[in-house]
Amino acid sequence: MPKQDVIMNVGIIQKTYDLQEYLKSVFDKMKHEITKNDTAFIAEKREKAFGLFNKAGFPHPALERWRGTDLSRALNHEYSTLPEPPPADLDIDKIFKCDVPHFETLLVTQLNGWYADRKNLIQVYPNGMIIGSLAEAFQKYPELVEAHYGKYADDKAESLTALNTAMSQDGIFIYIPDNVTVEQNIQMVNITDFKQNLFLNTRNLVILGENSHLRLVQCDDSINHDVTFINTVTEVKIGRNSSLDHYKLQNKDDHTTLINSMYFYQDEGSSLSTNAISLNGGLIRNLSHVTLSGAHSSADVYGLYLMDRHQHVDNQVYINHVAPDCESRELFKGVLDDQASGVFNGHIKVYRDAQRTNAFQTNKNILLTDKASIDTKPFLEIYADDVKCSHGATIGQLDAEALFYIRSRGISESNAKILLMYAFAAEVINKISIPELRQRMDDMVKKRLRGELSQCEQCVLNCSTQEHQKVSFVIDMSKI
């Protein structure tokens, strides 16, 4: 094997052999570049994390946590990594315009992993809220960052999280101080636009103080159709008596591998509601890791996946009941068409002291063809006795009698099927508490089921309805 790297641009090394080796060489050679915004604390974390990644290597299906999800095809491409930050004069409005009707959001945009607003890297709002670039926050708010960064993400269990800790350059930082209710919805948009195959590590940190409330919408979008491997890690700390409403929307193209790892850490009396909706994507793996560390906290984890062609979706939900008197509810539903494959792994762990825990988990799947497959593992691991825990999983197809009932009323078979699938999906959609978003997701799911929403469109919230114009987007790559 040739042992040489071709350095093409600053920070871009053409891969010539094994991806792990390549990343190792990038990490070693480009260390000054990667660590340039770091405090000593962060830099030390990177070293340790890279060691863990290098030892474990990329995950493979022989690992229990990766059963059923094979990255080998996605890893078999040549990737570039460490993209340059966008130019300072980048017009954010040109990159992205969300046009969900009446959907008021505070837009926080990332381009190729970098915080997009280069002129204004971090902003403090009148209510004390801080939003901006994570790399900038390392410098400006080291105490705030270091109290939480890397504390919740599990570098040991997930080698890709370790890789992210080691190599991510930037991401979004959100801090909500105590006693603040954020009226606006905050929308985090992660856009990739790169003229080569891109291997991207992005890292977000969200901190909610005490008695604070936030609604957060996280969207993943791609602009071009090159092969992308996105490895996003988001750490979320929810303080005492605070609440977070979180939505994760994915509508990627078939060339994208999206590894989205969320680590939620909840204090006493806090509540979390998170909803992952995957409509398209080459290979999607959503990890939701929830730790209920304070008593009387609650977590609702919902998910919906509608996959077709050769798409693959993997939902991993780990709920750790560490403290007593907590409650968790999980509901994941999926429809798999064509050759699509799905994995669901729900793992509820109730620790010895977590008495009076209520934990419920449901996973329901519909297979539409013989080539589609689903692998589901609803696990319970319980060490406390005063608990009520249940899980259920079903795999089936559309009810023939229901189909007949609808058809007997003069509705065509295809429409009847869509109707039934929509009803199946609606249970998750109805959990969305932002009305405008719910309406839009509802429309999108209907479109998705009709097969109108197949290719990646520019924004997950920007489907191709007649009444909404297409968002145009141009970045002059010669300037980058």
């Binding site: 013989d370 593992k377 609803p378 319970l380 406390a384 089936g396």
Partner: protein
């Protein structure tokens, strides 16, 4: 029924592991440790044909390449395979013609176990094959059975007298390279039961095998093979006990079941190996591979198990549903107390069309034990209209035990319907209060509630076992209240 209930209560109050005695019988043992010579020694001892030795050696050589599985939710110090005696047999001076010639000590042993060979033969109409320290000592009822053409004998007899059948079916369900413990068993198995039901025969009596580990430092490696030819039916029962010893003893068995077209095999077991003492010392390590194959269409295999013994249980009775319209069932009650650990469940592999499977698993954990259900339901592409229903409930008694559920479900066919549900809870204070209010002590109330909880499984046991299983449940949970 009233009387039964009273008996149970009586037994709950005064019994520990009552099978923990040791019988002093002259033994014939292999040298300690395992090497190719041990395998040859066992084979020679049993006067086996060349092909059998080859089978063993092949398994042994493969075993050397394997490592012990670590994925189960079990913790134990490494097993020292070189410290185990792999073969121990009661010394037999001559061929036995009738029960009268059996060593009186042995007869006494079986009487203590409650399986008086002679009486059972006369009264209950159950054919018994008793295996002590891996060697079958007496098979009852053979004559009656042979009238129907049913072959029920020890495995070594089968190797001598029915080599064709053994050759054809041995290793066809659990190949010798299947897993670590299966390979070990295939190399060193000493005896076991063999059962063949010819075409169209409904076996007139229930067949039963009793296993007993007696000698110290020995492992028990028995092998059971049940073949039900076209349209045959058999109900087979298995029981087991061991003396109380401080060190752990290894038990690695294989059970293979073959059901041809329209055949039905019902396999019931009450596993009551010595579970170790209250501090978690001693007890049997029970690593068992049990698998059945529904080879022909409309065949059925049903596993019912009551697991109360063993320090460690690693056991996944499975059914491969190959024939169209075949049925697989698994009913299990697993009780763990003190420091026992159980990782048990079932695998249902749907290969044929219109195949159905049911899994009902009830786990009960008490003391500081850990009880896991681990199962797999797999439906392959061509298995149209496959149907599975699984229910795995766990009951926790005490705040130091653990109850875990690890189901794996994989579906590749869109016409399949798979349902899985599981709950974990404790006995509610309301239920206990209700019983106590009616003058039932908490200990008995728990026995009552647990028996009600397990009823769904116990009702699938043959009569003789059901009563014993109920008692066992109560005994195993003794002292776990509070």
């Amino acid at each position: 029924m009233e009387k039964d209930q009273n008996n149970i209560l009586e037994e709950v109050t005064n019994s520990d592991y009552k099978y923990g005695f040791y019988t002093d019988i002259e033994m014939d043992t292999a040298p300690v440790g395992l090497c190719e010579d041990t395998v040859r020694f066992i084979s020679a001892k049993k006067n086996e044909p060349e092909w059998m030795l080859e089978f063993r050696l092949k398994a042994y050589r493969h075993w050397l390449t394997l490592t012990e599985p670590t994925w189960a939710h079990l913790h134990h110090p490494p097993i020292q395979y070189q410290d185990i005696i792999f073969y121990a047999a009661p010394k037999r001076k001559k061929e036995l013609k009738s029960l009268d010639e059996v060593d009186p000590e042995l007869i006494e042993t079986f009487n203590k176990l409650g399986i008086s060979l002679d009486e059972q033969k006369k009264l209950s109409g159950v054919a018994v094959d008793a295996v002590i320290d891996s060697v079958s000592v007496k098979t009852t009822f053979s004559d009656t059975l042979s009238k129907y053409g049913v072959i029920f004998c020890s495995f070594s007899d089968a190797v001598q007298n029915h080599p064709d059948l053994v050759k054809q079916y041995m290793g066809s369900v659990v190949p010798s390279n299947d897993n670590f413990f299966a390979a070990l068993n295939s190399a060193v198995f000493s005896d076991g039961s063999f059962c063949y039901i010819p075409k169209g025969v409904r076996c007139p009596v229930e067949l039963s095998t009793y296993f007993r580990i007696n000698a110290a430092n020995t492992g028990q490696f028995e092998r059971t093979l049940i073949v039900a030819d076209e349209g045959a039916y058999v109900s087979y029962m298995e029981g087991c006990t061991a003396p109380m010893r401080d060190e752990n003893q290894l038990h690695a068995a294989i059970v293979e079941i073959v059901a041809m077209k329209d055949a039905e095999v019902k396999y019931s077991t009450v596993q009551n190996w010595y579970p170790g003492n209250k501090k978690g010392e001693g007890g049997i390590y029970n690593f068992v591979t049990k698998r059945g194959i529904c080879k022909g269409s409309h065949s059925k295999i049903s596993w019912t198990q009551v697991e109360t013994g063993s320090a460690i249980t690693w056991k996944y009775p499975s059914v491969v549903l190959m024939g169209d319209n075949s049925v697989g069932e698994f009913y299990s009650v697993a009780v763990t107390n003190n420091f026992q650990q159980a990782d048990t469940g079932s695998k249902m592999i749907h290969l044929g069309k219109n195949t159905k499977s049911t899994i009902i698993s009830k786990g009960i954990s008490a003391g500081q034990s850990n009880n896991s259900y681990r199962g797999l339901v797999k439906v392959i592409k061509r298995a149209e209209n496959a149907r599975n229903f699984s229910q795995c409930d766990s009951l926790l008694l005490g705040d130091k035990c653990g109850a875990h559920t690890y189901p794996y479900i994989k579906a590749e066919n869109h016409t399949s319907i798979i349902e899985h549900e599981a709950t974990t809870s404790k006995i509610s204070d309301d239920q206990l209060f209700y019983c106590k209010q009616r003058g039932i002590s908490s200990e008995s109330a728990i026995g009552l509630i647990v028996n009600g909880y397990a009823k769904e499984v116990l009702m699938h046991l043959p009569m003789e076992f059901a009563v014993e299983a109920q008692k066992l449940l109560a005994i195993s949970l003794e002292g776990s209240v509070g």
